[in-house]
Amino acid sequence: MESLKYDLATTPLREVNQFLHGDASGLNGKHIEINNPNGAHNIAVGLKSEAKVTIHGHAGYYAAGMNQIADITIEGSVGSGVAENMMSGRVHVKGFASNAAGATANGGLLVIDGDAGLRCGISLKGADIVVGGSVGSFSAFMAQAGNMVVLGDAGEGLGDSIYEAHLFVRGKVKSLGADCEVKTMGPAERKTLVDLLEQSGHANVDPDSFTLYGSARTLYHFNVAKSGAY
């Protein structure tokens, strides 16, 4: 694979991002390495080619946001909004992620090896998120579609007002949000979990150690009997 190196200590980020936004035919199959990110915001946002990008260090806000197709690895940790609104492709954070990781993501796979902050997978719209550590409070708030796998614990209000996303949590859940409940894991959901564990480097983790959470669907329709509560 042809490899290109950028050093953010000497090259402006805008120049790197403009290169990454170039014609897909010139980027497909290339490996772009970014050194000295030093917590800069908006690194490798809006990619739409089959490039492989490695960020050597810690990234700031919105790293790999709006990703399509590209395979992006952050060797360190990330600030808020990593892979927000991702459409497809893969984003792998080897450290921890701050708030709103994978927010509103439509597709693709976000893997976080460490912990994720609050509101992980908020308004998830179809992407898959695998967190090796724990997620903070209000994660998967109003999650509509997709899957979230948490190997550690979840904070308060997990899956509040959830629609049809699946939440697999191995550890403790501090509290469930409104309309989120424990579900029975059927063969189809179990297979989804097994596949995601395999794709995220956790093939040795027992899928039966997870509990599935989903929507009780009591908030789907206006209920005149409860109108006073709305």
């Binding site: 917590g39 700031g60 600030g79 902050g117 903070g136």
Partner: protein, 299 residues
């Protein structure tokens, strides 16, 4: 939006250049806070019965030597030290704080008393972090720990008095990233307790609330627990005391913070980009502090 930074050096050799180590941290937070900046630094303590008074005036050609001379004449006391930098001066004396306050109000009402303490000096002013740092020679400062702030005003005026750090009592200060929605009611509540406010800034309300709680007998931890009940809004608060730095984030973690713990130092900033330059940062333990938890580092 605002930026906060904190640095506590564990390696005594680094005390001499804490200002130099901190400077890129503060400048790194310029985008979060371009309109004002401030710093509280905790250095060597003055004598047991002495106090340092950090003074500020907005008058560019203020006659500082006259103030020093008048102080001596009126109060018949030797000024132990008088160090002036631009619009700031630090006056060291053994005169009682209340006497100094009254004297200042009477003779130099245009001079603001920013802080009183045995270890702490405070500098704050309007301008970009780089401008303020250059004006007051931040890179030359020495000490064991410091707390800094870059401000983007959202709820009250841009003046030196509204800049952070805020202080109440002695050798205690606070910087804040966020906004408090119940600052006016908190202020009224504290005014009933006889507490005087200098600005309409929301952070001053939080600062005076916590200092009041501690005067009422709370330790810092209990005061902050009361703070979680009373303070409504978004906040990451970083506090400095004579021998510690303390950090809390609101229960919703609306405002950021990153910590780097190293054998030689503990560094705190709103974002990692203010920590990236620190020596041997690759071997520091970098983590995001949890909401509603109190983190304390001792000198």
């Amino acid at each position: 939006m605002c930026g906060i930074v904190g640095l506590l050096v564990k390696n005594p050799k680094m005390r001499a250049n804490i200002g130099e180590l901190m400077l890129p941290m503060l400048i790194g937070m310029t985008e979060r806070g371009p309109d004002s900046a401030g710093l509280a630094v905790f250095g060597d303590a003055v004598g047991d019965n002495e106090r340092k008074f950090s003074l500020y005036t907005g008058e560019p050609d203020f006659n500082w030597p006259k103030l020093s001379h008048d102080f001596l004449t009126h109060l018949g006391s030797k000024v132990i030290n008088f160090a002036q930098k631009a619009n700031h001066a630090v006056l060291t004396t053994h005169i009682e704080p209340e006497t100094v306050k009254t004297w200042l109000k009477e003779h130099y009402p245009q001079v603001h008393l920013l802080a009183i303490g045995q270890l702490m000096d405070i500098y704050k002013d309007v301008g970009t972090p780089a401008e303020v740092a250059a004006r007051y020679g931040f890179s030359q400062l020495s000490g064991s720990h410091l707390v800094g702030h870059t401000r983007m005003a959202t709820e009250s005026a841009i003046t030196p008095a509204h800049a952070h750090p805020f202080t109440a009592g002695q050798d205690w200060c606070l910087v804040h990233n966020g906004s408090l929605s119940n600052a006016p009611s908190l202020r009224r509540k504290l005014q009933y307790e006889g507490i005087h406010f200098e600005t309409d800034n929301d952070t001053e309300a939080a600062c005076r609330f916590l200092e009041w709680r501690m005067r009422e007998g709370d330790d810092l931890k209990t005061a902050l627990e009361h703070g979680f009940e009373e303070l409504d809004g978004f906040y990451t608060l970083l506090m400095g005391t004579k021998d510690q730095l303390a950090l809390v984030r609101d229960p919703f973690a609306c405002k950021p913070a990153v910590v780097a713990e190293h054998d030689d130092y503990v560094a705190i900033a709103s974002e990692f980009r203010s920590l990236a330059h620190l020596p041997d940062i690759k071997n520091a333990k970098v983590f995001e502090p949890s909401p509603k938890e109190m983190y304390v580092w001792k000198v």
